[in-house]
């Protein structure tokens, strides 16, 4: 009951000296505000990454070979996993073979919708007279687009027929069409383009044009020297690479009936274990969107918490400001303290009154800081191109922390007030 009265009293005192209260709270507002704005940006970033990863296929499992002993590194940073290309030391015996894939598909036929394979063939340029255009070629199987979405603008995707016939066909982005066919997607179909890879020029026929999606998050390349992906049949790609053995990685598109993607991922690892039991250098590892998102957001969290911590130091300065103003306020109200004691206030009641006043001051400052911080963070997130989302945990923590600061820095002044001699306080001029 006394607490509630004291809270009311504290708000009265706060509003009686609006300007002074605001200036006192400024330190807290800035401290909490900067922490919250950082957390807002990071929370928005996390949400958008999670969303886009989910969009890219939450049900996909990437399976690949991994050098033994690298376990730790891969676990802590799933992003590296996908980048594991045919490393120099992995020879053909280490790769995943067609037989293994067939075996996998028949063992888990009810759980696997498709197996998407993509092998990096390398970067190349499309050339025609003075015009050239950078592409990065991937050899894919017919199921590849089950695992990653594209928007087809004209023509068709790579088909099983293309694979069987090892045809020299290619799917290119509309950027390539812009450069060579003045953006006329339809007329580009069935036309031949000359692809120069390491000085070897090969003629491919365009079967499909897909829409290039600007990767707003990470790309900073200008429009001219942009490299877009081009797709050729996997078999054709292998021929170009003079390699016929197997794959370093592939993607399993799980059936909707699979409840836990990560559980299935471990099942796949178990399935491959016997094949690689005798292999001293390599083993099979899996990675799901889930684990990739996790490690990505974890990284963002760590960074933002570290920055917030530094920003939080300004809270210390804010706290000292609060302590200072509380000392001033107590001196100003010495007679009031004396009167309260004469009316029967115990030392503890006086202490409680001023601690609560300090807590309320910091609490209001914290709330204002949260509001300004969230607004600033939301603006920053919007400018960076993410939709803003509120960092709920950080907000709750900030409220609690600002109150804790009020308690900590209010204790000394409040105790000073509590210990005042009633007579001296009453005689104070």
């Amino acid at each position: 009951m006394l607490i509630w009265e004291n809270i009311k009293l504290a708000f009265q005192a706060l509003f009686a000296n609006k300007m002074r209260s605001l200036l006192t709270m400024l330190g807290i507002i800035i401290g909490i505000g900067s922490v919250i704005s950082i957390m807002t940006v990071s929370s928005s970033l996390k949400t958008s990454i999670t969303d886009s990863f989910q969009e890219m296929g939450a049900s996909n499992i990437t399976v690949g070979i991994r050098q033994r002993g690298e376990e730790e590194e891969v676990r802590s940073n799933g992003m590296h996993f996908g980048a594991l290309e045919k490393s120099a030391s992995a020879d053909e015996d280490d790769l995943i073979t067609d037989e293994m894939l067939e075996e996998l598909q028949s063992s888990f036929s009810d759980k696997i919708d498709a197996v998407a394979i993509s092998e990096n063939v390398g970067s190349a340029t499309v050339e025609d007279g003075n015009t050239s255009c950078n592409i990065s070629i991937s050899g894919i199987n017919a199921d590849y687009f089950e695992s990653s979405q594209i928007t087809l603008l004209a023509g068709r995707k790579i088909s099983q027929g293309d694979l069987d016939g090892k045809k020299k066909v290619i799917m290119v982005s509309d950027k390539v069409i812009d450069a060579f066919f003045d953006g006329d997607n339809a007329s580009a179909l069935a036309q031949g383009i000359y692809v120069n890879q390491n000085g070897v020029t090969t003629k491919y026929y365009i079967v499909g044009v897909y829409q290039y999606e600007e990767n707003s998050n990470f790309s900073s390349e200008s429009d001219e020297d942009i490299t877009t992906a081009a797709y050729i049949p996997l078999t054709t790609g292998k021929e170009a690479l003079h390699s016929d053995k197997g794959y370093s990685q592939f993607t399993v598109v799980t059936a909707t009936s699979v409840e836990s993607v990560s559980d299935f991922a471990s099942e796949i690892e178990t399935f491959f274990a016997p094949y690689y039991a005798a292999n001293e250098d390599y083993e099979i590892a899996t990675s799901t969107m889930e684990s990739m998102t996790e490690s990505m957001t974890e990284m963002i969290s760590t960074v933002s918490i570290a920055i917030s911590f530094i920003a939080g130091i300004s809270l210390l300065v804010g706290g000292i400001g609060v302590m200072n103003i509380m000392l001033v306020s107590i001196t100003e109200r010495t007679r009031e303290i004396g009167t309260r004691k004469a009316l029967g206030a115990r030392n503890s009641s006086i202490r409680l009154q001023f601690i609560i006043e300090s807590i309320v001051l910091c609490f209001v400052g914290g709330c204002l800081g949260i509001i300004t911080g969230f607004i600033l963070g939301a603006i920053a997130a919007t400018i960076l191109g993410y939709s803003a989302s509120a960092p709920v945990g950080a907000i709750i923590l900030s409220v609690a922390f600002s109150m804790l600061i009020g308690m900590f820095f209010g204790y000394y002044p409040a105790n000073k007030a509590a210990k005042m001699d009633p007579i001296e306080a009453l005689r104070y001029e």
Binding site: L2, Q12, T339, K341, A342, A345, N347
Partner: protein, 242 residues
């Protein structure tokens, strides 16, 4: 023993000194013996600086004597701790100051509620009692005014209502009319007489006005920290006149 019980305030050989720097010790009260009976109306007079307020603060349990014993309703003030002292101030004593000492920025009602708040009374009871007291003091239409919106007389009436909040047996008033014009002072004095007669309050009043002192039952004269005279008063005419 009977007499002892009736004696609500009992000071024996009370000395009070203040420390002024290291070597100097200034004794203000030199062995005061004073007994006040329950229901008595006593006034203390004396020159400025004679130690009246110092004595009053001791009686009010705002501080402890340097030596001597003080019993208030048989509680030894000299050895009591902060909790006991604050409870005594809260329950047994009502202070009225020359400078009112109302809490700024809070209404008359909230000021009167304050001692009851410290006593732990629930909000409803507090408000009801505070309203009743303010009405009694003729402040019914000023309950929601803050101190800076009140006249001196109104402030002092609010202060008296506040002193009465927990229905204490003793009212200590240190020059309650000192800052008021004589007519308003008269009015305040009438209130004390009423509290004394109608509610049987024990009242100790410090005043510089010989006239007002004469109205009380006993007049104690203080000079240089010692009681030099004590005589009967009691020339207060009936309340009905005012």
């Amino acid at each position: 023993m009977k007499e002892q019980e009736q004696c609500i305030i009992n000071l024996q050989q009370i000395r009070k000194s203040f420390f002024l720097g290291q070597p100097n010790e200034l004794e203000i009260l030199h062995g005061i013996n004073l007994k006040v009976k329950k229901g008595e109306f006593v006034s203390i007079v004396g020159e400025s600086g004679s130690g009246k307020s110092t004595l009053m603060n001791l009686i009010g349990a705002l501080e402890r004597p340097t030596s001597g014993t003080y019993h208030l309703e048989n509680i030894d003030i000299g050895t009591a701790n902060d909790k006991v002292l604050s409870d005594i101030r809260n329950q047994k004593i009502g202070f009225v100051f020359q400078t009112y000492n109302l809490i700024a920025r809070t209404t008359s009602l909230a000021n009167v509620e304050l001692p009851m708040l410290y006593a732990g009374l629930p909000k409803k009871e507090r408000t009801a009692r505070a309203k009743e007291l303010l009405n009694m003091m003729g402040m019914g239409d000023r309950m929601n005014h803050r101190p800076d919106e009140l006249s001196g007389g109104q402030k002092q009436r609010t202060a008296i209502a506040r002193a009465m909040a927990n229905d204490p047996s003793i009212i200590l008033a240190d020059e309650p009319t000192g800052a008021l014009d004589s007519e308003t002072g008269r009015h305040i004095m009438d209130i004390f007489h009423r509290l004394h007669r109608e509610q049987g309050k024990t009242i100790v009043l410090i005043t510089h006005s010989r006239e007002l002192a004469e109205e009380t039952e006993r007049i104690i004269t203080l000079k240089d920290g010692a009681i030099t005279g004590e005589r009967r008063g009691g020339s207060y005419a009936d309340l009905g006149k005012h």
